[in-house]
């Protein structure tokens, strides 16, 4: 391989006393103690800041190397480096976390309204503000029995105290301790976490009321106890980071408890085919939805998760007629533990546009109440939550944001399994770095803060319930968007 200068440089100040903490902390081997002093191997550094934060002398700094190839607006350094790698190995480029490429972020082109003079804003410190949402299918009409009493014709609903759930991340892609933190936080917050397609460790059965279990094409770990220890069941069709492709967890990673929860032998590869081979149509999907309902006696809502792709509104229309109660739409910026770089960075569409078009299509067809909508794919703060709900979502799902709360520094090396923060790893000494109780507290802190911010933003708009914000696009204005974009988003331009 041609020698390419490393992307980052480790700067070690004279304050370093060679205590070797950095050496112990770095799973990538970027710090080595030799001949009486600490040495840095810049080429090994992934810029995850573990050493920087734990250095007792604050002696470390990581900087982007200013060594560069000749500047070229067309052939970026990334393009060239990637070609070097592929020319050497013949491999498919593999990366992780959400798409880092500079595409428009529509959330950043939308601004929220606030009341002035003519309708008073509401002070959340003084007035009650409702952030509880129920996800599920709504009845078409009120039904009464012969004596005029209401008949309860409400299908099973998923109650969330705030309109946020944790995204599907499997035990295997993230650690036991990360799952424990998510499960405990979901329980304390009255929201949901999601098992992903990795099965459910029996230690976590007790969080069943706050658990969404996933049924994906490989059906790993799907059995009776799994389905029963859940609040809802999610059929995973696609994922924003890698729409249209399957998954492959190599046999070398199927060890110990991972093998147990996925219910496959140690060392056996876990391959999830690209499609569910029993689902080739909406009719087939309906069959899986209803068979899951049959198997769980119609006690749980069924979620269908799809990636935001070009014809998403037609797909969503089909899903809304499939008997599913909730659709989860994952935008192309959604995270992943591992995905081919080209797919992550080039396939799918932004979730803001997908959501706006799905919500409109379902309303136009008169089936919006058949189904609730959860969106994900880079919800970075409470303002994104509010904007998503105003565009038509019932709730949002956060993955990367939750991991950042647990200590993730978005170094995008999840696929190596060497996460220094104990999140995307199964190495026991690395996993033990993440304290589940501390992690839970940080997740709860984050979402409590978001909840307060959501209430403030709602109050400012003169809205006191999240239900009244849903699909309320009058609360949004676009900035720097063209007519087509405004049309798809269904919002006016700022100043209009």
């Amino acid at each position: 391989m041609p020698y390419v200068y490393n992307e980052y440089e480790i700067i070690r100040s004279p304050a370093c006393n060679s205590c070797r903490v950095c050496e112990k902390q770095c799973s990538y081997g970027a710090h080595v103690y030799r001949d009486g002093k600490m040495r840095s191997y810049d080429d090994k550094c992934v810029n995850c800041h573990r050493c920087v934060e734990l250095c007792p002398k604050r002696a470390l700094k990581i900087v982007k190397s200013n060594m560069s190839l000749r500047e070229n607006a067309n052939w970026s350094e990334a393009n060239i480096r990637e070609i070097f790698k592929q020319a050497e190995t013949g491999g498919v480029l593999l990366s992780s976390m959400g798409c880092p490429v500079k595409y428009p972020v529509y959330f950043d082109r939308l601004l929220l309204n606030a009341s002035q003079v003519t309708n008073p804003s509401i002070d959340p410190l003084r007035e009650p503000m409702e952030t509880v949402v129920y996800l599920g299918s709504r009845p078409k009409a009120i039904e009464r029995d012969g004596r005029g009493n209401l008949i309860n014709n409400l299908k099973p609903q998923l109650k969330l105290n705030i309109p946020i759930v944790f995204s599907a991340m499997s035990y295997g892609s993230i650690s036991y301790n990360a799952h424990a933190a998510l499960a405990q936080a979901a329980q304390e917050l009255g929201i949901m976490y999601n098992t992903g397609e990795g099965g459910l460790h029996d230690d976590f059965y007790k969080y069943g009321k706050n658990t969404i279990v996933q049924v994906a094409s490989g059906r790993f770990g799907v059995h009776k106890d799994y389905l029963e220890n859940s609040a809802a069941i999610e059929i995973k069709i696609g994922q924003g980071a890698k729409p249209g492709i399957g998954g492959h967890l190599p046999g070398s990673k199927i060890i110990g408890e991972i093998s147990k929860t996925r219910m496959i032998p140690e060392g056996s590869a876990a391959i999830s085919p690209a499609p569910h081979h029993d689902i080739y149509s909406i009719e087939d999907l309906r069959q899986l939805v209803l068979s899951l309902k049959e198997a769980t006696s119609y006690t749980k809502p069924i979620i269908v998760k799809v990636a935001a792709v070009h014809n998403i509104s037609a797909v969503a229309s089909g899903i809304a007629r499939s008997g599913a109660d909730i659709i989860a739409i994952d935008g192309f910026r959604g995270g992943t533990g591992a995905a081919p770089t080209r797919i992550r960075d080039n396939v799918g569409i932004p979730v803001e546009l997908a959501l706006a078009s799905v919500d409109k299509r379902l309303r136009d067809e008169g089936i919006r109440d058949n189904i609730s909508i959860i969106v994900s794919g880079s919800i970075r703060g409470s303002a994104d939550v509010v904007k998503a709900i105003a565009l038509g979502a019932d709730a949002v799902s956060i993955g990367t944001a939750a991991l950042i709360a647990l200590g993730c520094h978005v170094c995008r090396r999840c696929h190596t399994g060497k996460c220094n923060w104990g999140i995307a790893t199964q190495v026991p000494e690395l996993v033990s770095r993440l304290n589940p109780d501390r992690g839970k507290t940080r997740l709860v802190n984050l979402l409590k803060a978001w909840e307060h911010e959501i209430k403030e933003m709602m109050g400012g708009m003169g809205i006191n319930s999240i239900e009244a914000l849903r699909g309320n696009r009058l609360m949004l204005r676009g900035v720097g968007l063209n007519l087509k974009e405004l049309d798809i988003l269904g919002v006016k331009h700022a100043g209009e």
Binding site: K224, A269, I271
Partner: protein
Amino acid sequence: MTNYAYKLDCPEKIIINGCLGARYIGAGASNKVITINGIPGNALGAYLDGAEIIVNGNVQDAVGDTMNGGRIIINGSAGDVLGYAMRGGEIFVKDNCGYRTGIHMKEYKEKRPCIVIGGSAGSFLGEYLAGGLIIVLGLNRDEPPVGNFTGTGMHGGRIFIRSEKPPKALPAQVLCRRATDMDLKDIHAYISEFSRIFEIDINDILNKSFYVLTPNEKNPYKLLYTEN
């Protein structure tokens, strides 16, 4: 009566007469024997968890989807996607089955699923097979009783095909060889069970050679990745 109450109340022996396409029969059922006279609809015995289902007739698609344990006996033919992602239990089909049979079957600990087909199977048999056994007897034909793309992406388990000739156009992830006596010993219990259930003389089954398909460990199903 709600579905849930019905399930709790449901007797251990159930006979359904004149069945005409009712779907989801026996979904997730355990500790029951369900006899169906007629033709059940799709997703019969999905997530089956120990119950036994006997069908006196043909069945439609997605029988035994994600089945965890139990037994399904079909006195006729099966439609497409039989035993998808099944982890345990046994399915015996007297006659033929459609496309996509036994895709992504897997085994775990004491669970080792098995599908026995008396007739022939359609294309895409045992794709992504991760564990368990698929046995296709081809009792009604001379040509290899499987279609195209048998075992694509196979990475575990075994497929036995009763035939004088090996199946054509197998994918690169699959090794095909004539079954040895040792191999046949492994499946003898299933074959004798098939012969007992459907009252077919076992000698009429063992009178032909078998081919066995296994994953090609030298050419495994995987993509070569480069860290980026």
